[in-house]
Amino acid sequence: MQPPEELRVPSFRAASALPWITTPLLIALVLLAWHFYVSVSKISAFILPSPAAVWAAWKQIIVAAPTWKHTWATVYETLAGFFWASIIGIALGVALGRVRWLEVTLNPFIVATQVIPKVALVPLMIVWFGFGMTSKMVIAAVLAFFPILSNTVLGVKSVDAGHRDVMVSLNASRWMVLRRLELPSSLPYILTGMEVGVVLAIIGAVVGEFLGGDVGLGYLLVARMNAYETDVLFAVIVHMTMVGFMFYFAIGVVRRLLIPWHESVASEKAGS
């Protein structure tokens, strides 16, 4: 027997296609309003350049070699910081989630590190790690660390008691419990933490670049500001937003690859 045709998951769906129409439309609307406001109010281009000017500036900066040097610097700092935040966050999170006394002992300190406005640590990091990329990487890591850690702890603690019973009744080794139960079961939580973490890592890297050094998109931003090139400033913001989107989408792709079994992915696929 053949299943009815409409139950096959099609490659194209109205619901998933909708954003491809609405998003450009909304962007166009905002740009139009912006353009209208600038031309009617005669506002100074130092305060608010027209979309056309920003577009022209953006076309210029993306073909300029230094822009890509700055972009790679920021991407590198973000990735490296995010990488270490993930490694340490997940490892420590699993340990805290499994060992109750460790969590009780360390929790006040972890909370303390979160209560400090972390951006206040940026000057200190620059003093400690210099004006190079290392200090930005560390800042990115510090910012990304906490959501990854706390989500991992939550994930490990949320492991289903019935699933644990299965592992106990099967005489599973600690390693098997970790590999076959705790990690896969926590993965949706960990990925949510990483989604938040990667955005914070970008913020960390850029804020670090504001304060020290001569490379990175944050540096570029401050330099253009000091030169009163507001149109280029806007263009750099647009550029940074795109870089941010790429990171965010990358995590989304990882999510789809790693947890195809999870509701969050399955419901997307079914187009509910």
């Binding site: 019935g162 019973d165 106990v168 098997m176 896969p184 947890i259 079994w261 999870h262 399955a266």
Partner: protein, 267 residues
């Protein structure tokens, strides 16, 4: 059942087993001194109202809960020694829970093969065994599906296949069909009887359904609550294999009504 199967299936002996649960005010007496012996190849059913300690008893035999006092011997191994579990005794046991407890991140065949992975069986061999088992429990063709794509009854079949995968000689089942509708439950009871006949394992099954108990059991052990203790033991001598029509027979119904009266008195 064949003589060979009778010899190969080990039994279970409980002597003076007691269980107290610690609680804030005062420890809870879950199971009073219980002595019980399960013969090799026997199908024993623990029946009782909620709070009668039947699940606690099964979890102690399964090595999930440590008894406060007494001794449990599984396949001639002392299961608990000073609160430590003897893993060689646990290897003889397969457990099926009320929820299928399949891992949602593993396909059906990977779930069934999971115990074999822990026993370091090579992947090809594992998956071949898993496929054979899907045939035995009647979910052939669903090997590559995710658990959430299967119905409750099919998931429970997969859980039984997982418990059978490493060929334990004793099967412990904690209300395995409690969450299923009546029709599916009947079908699963027939299926379980068939699997038991085909594999010759010792089975201890916990249920609160009198009909299920009388239909499946060689022997029904009725437990009374607060604290849990053995109230009545009834041998069920109907010939095997039993058909669902048996449930309408006078003899069957008289045992059921006897148990029901007793249950009403004690709960």
């Amino acid at each position: 059942m064949s003589e060979g199967a009778l010899r190969s299936a080990p039994g279970i002996q409980l002597a003076g087993v007691e269980k107290w649960y610690s609680a804030r005010r005062e420890p809870v007496f879950a199971l009073a001194e219980t002595t019980l012996s399960v013969a090799p190849g026997e199908f024993l059913v623990l029946l009782g109202p909620s709070g009668c300690g039947k699940t606690t008893l099964l979890r102690m035999i399964g090595g999930l809960v440590c008894p406060t006092r007494g001794s449990i011997r599984v396949a001639d191994h002392e299961l608990w020694r000073d609160g430590q579990r003897d893993d060689s005794a646990v290897r003889e046991l397969g457990m099926v829970f009320q929820d299928a407890n399949l891992f949602p991140w593993l396909s059906i065949e990977e779930n069934i093969a999971l115990p074999l992975e822990m026993r370091r069986v090579p992947r090809g061999e594992r998956l071949r065994r898993a496929r054979d088992l899907t045939r035995l429990v009647g979910i052939e063709g669903f090997e590559r599906r995710w658990p959430r794509e299967l119905s409750g009854g099919m998931r429970q079949r997969a859980a039984i296949a997982r418990a059978l995968s490493y060929d334990p000689r004793i099967l412990l089942m904690d209300e395995p069909f409690g969450a299923l509708d009546a029709l599916t439950r009947d079908a699963m009871n027939m299926e379980l009887q068939r699997i038991w006949g085909a594999t010759g394992k010792t089975i201890v099954l916990v249920t609160h359904s009198i009909t299920e108990a009388v239909f499946l059991a060689d022997r029904v052990v009725l437990l009374s609550p607060r604290p849990g203790k053995i109230d009545t033991v009834i041998n069920i001598d109907f010939a095997r294999p039993r058909s669902l029509d048996l449930q309408a027979s006078v003899e069957f119904l008289s045992i059921v009504s006897r148990l029901r009266h007793r249950l009403e008195q004690i709960s």
